[in-house]
Subunit: 333 residues, 2 copies
DNA sequence: ATGTTGTTTGGTAACGTTTACATTCGTTTA
DNA sequence: TAAACGAATGTAAACGTTACCAAACAACAT
């Protein structure tokens, strides 16, 4: 079929071992080296990575398991992981688990079959809760969401702090009845809620939260229901970009103005958040950095497996925009 | 290291061939089959895909080369390709070539090394123009953009028709000075422009086009420059979602209203297009279908390599929204 | 000269599968 | 009853690499 190392060896008049050494920068004389390289060029030889992987027991491949690449957060992370991986001479296998624990388990098995070097994983809370890293032969770095504390590396946003930041901002702008809409499937929603609650409690304000499935539709349904109730919040904190979009849909459908009828603040600086009205106030996550850092952590763990597990916590930036422009002067507390 | 077929064979008291046959549904008696399956379960055996690929000469892997997954069009296509691939028991290797012919060549080489079964590719016009399918050992399906006619399979939008559709729509709404903004790097921009020109010519109206690099920034710069000139168009047709966003940025920065000061129509029904003002008129592409069809074409080509090359042309749907609501009654032509 | 070292090179056994071929055994057919 | 067949199983040779080991050879110190 295609040209193999043996063909190159014959044309160059050397042994296959020598060709292999030329290809992997082993010690070989300059004369032979050029002869081999010419033969490679002439035949258009390309190494067979399956054979290489089998023999060397190095897959040079990492798995990336997210819920859905169509979520802009994961899109950006994926791109970052891929850039970093290719830079390190590695391949990425992308898996969309759709927030489904069964699919997550299935993909983890697949990663085992691929004998990947490692996995970068954003698990549902179900999987996160019962995750046993020792059952896998590869290291795992959690992203966005945490696994069991201390058992795997992780890179996450400072979610409680970010939740607090949004609430403090809303309070400073004069809002007092601040609702919260959170995803019910990941640890991220819970962590953001904790920050939200803490900030409200500190100011002696009541909280009012709803949990929904992680989809735009679920969020708009929930907000629609909320609006049908006698008294809704002045302002809403929404736990991620998908849900935020659902909230916007529900509000605009109902003919309500943002922030006139209800202020809105959320997570993820997706392109569209700048285009709603005069912009939505959001916490911008360092999406690309999250991917790059995750890949770096994985590589360093591969180099040094005995390292203590690390958790990298990154900070989000508050982008203040028109959706929280305030209701007159802030009332004195 | 990890458990291999030999271990399973020993535990079950059969030969490795029998184990292999159980795993690949070969003919083996029910008694042995269950004994093997028990051994597999007990040992937690997982096949080594590198070894399997090497021996069987089947990589069960396809390459997907796009410019950037962060472009929502390619995000959706990627997700579709991955779904279809996993359904067919195949893996996907995703490559971001950033509209760079050198990177494209590099990734095509990599695909060769991976011995992929096939590649789904959205090439720049440079690579498309000089692409020689016979130089690769795998079939290639072009998506979104066409390669040399008749040399590879392809699935594309009916771009000229879509361009025409937008122009006809604008004319019907009373616009007469209709400008066009197109990407300068793919065949897609050229094809959409052709439809745009044809429709204008048919109505005896003048055309006015600009070509820009495929980025939001390039588009907004171009539109800004355009606005600085003495007379700009009533309406703008914009060749894809990235550029459309740039146009929106330029117009809102300049404090112009859409469609009051300038109407806007474009391609790609990205989430944000519904949120600008009361919505942007766009051609919605069947993004998911494009990915699924591309994968299906690839699979059928793998089954039957001698099939004549096919080009599947899909239609876009015009979503009429407020950005082209018209300037009073249409003037009689 | 001779032994000692070090650096290139070649031969070949793995790596974990699949698969062509040989073997065995039970069943049918003349 | 023997010959002929077919199904189930085992044996061993690939697949294309890498890496271990030994051989060859040059350079150097004795």
């Amino acid at each position: 079929m295609s040209v193999k190392i043996k063909d190159v060896a014959e044309l160059a008049g050397v042994s296959v071992a020598t060709v292999s050494r030329v290809l992997s920068n082993g010690s070989v004389s300059a004369a032979l080296k050029t002869r081999v390289e010419e033969a490679v060029a002439q035949l258009g030889y390309r190494p067979n990575l399956s054979a290489r992987r089998l023999r060397s027991q190095l897959s040079q491949t990492v798995g990336l398991i997210v819920s859905d690449v169509r979520n802009p957060f994961f899109t950006a992370v994926s791109r970052a992981v891929e850039d970093a991986a290719y830079r390190a001479g590695m391949r990425v296998i992308l898996c969309n688990a759709d927030e489904d624990p069964d699919k997550e388990a299935m993909y983890l098995r697949l990663m085992q079959e691929e004998r990947v070097s490692g996995v970068i994983f954003s698990p549902t809370s179900v999987t996160a809760g019962r995750f046993r890293p020792e059952r896998f032969e590869f290291p795992v770095v959690m992203i966005d969401r945490e696994g069991p504390p201390g058992l795997t590396d992780a890179v996450v946003l400072d979610n409680p702090q970010a939740g607090r930041l949004l609430v403090e901002h809303l309070i400073a702008r004069g809002y007092r009845k601040i609702g919260g809409l959170f995803g019910n499937v990941s640890t991220t929603g819970a962590a953001r809620r904790a920050g939200y609650e803490a900030a409200l409690a500190q100011h002696g304000l009541p909280s009012s939260v709803r949990f929904v499935a992680p989809s735009t539709e679920a969020a708009s349904t929930a907000v629609r229901a909320w609006l049908a109730e006698p008294d809704w919040p002045d302002a809403l904190v929404v736990s991620n970009g998908l849900l935020l979009l659902g909230a916007v849909h529900a509000l605009t459908e109902a003919g309500l103005s943002i922030p006139g009828d209800m202020a809105l603040a959320g997570f993820d600086n997706d392109v569209w958040t700048g285009l709603v009205g005069h912009g939505l106030t959001v916490i911008e996550q360092p999406v690309y950095d999250i991917g790059v850092v995750a890949m770096e952590m994985l590589l360093s763990r591969l180099e040094n497996p005995s390292l203590a597990k690390r958790k990298v916590v990154l900070n989000g930036a508050l982008l203040e925009r028109a959706s929280t422009s305030g209701r007159g002067a802030a009332a004195p507390s």
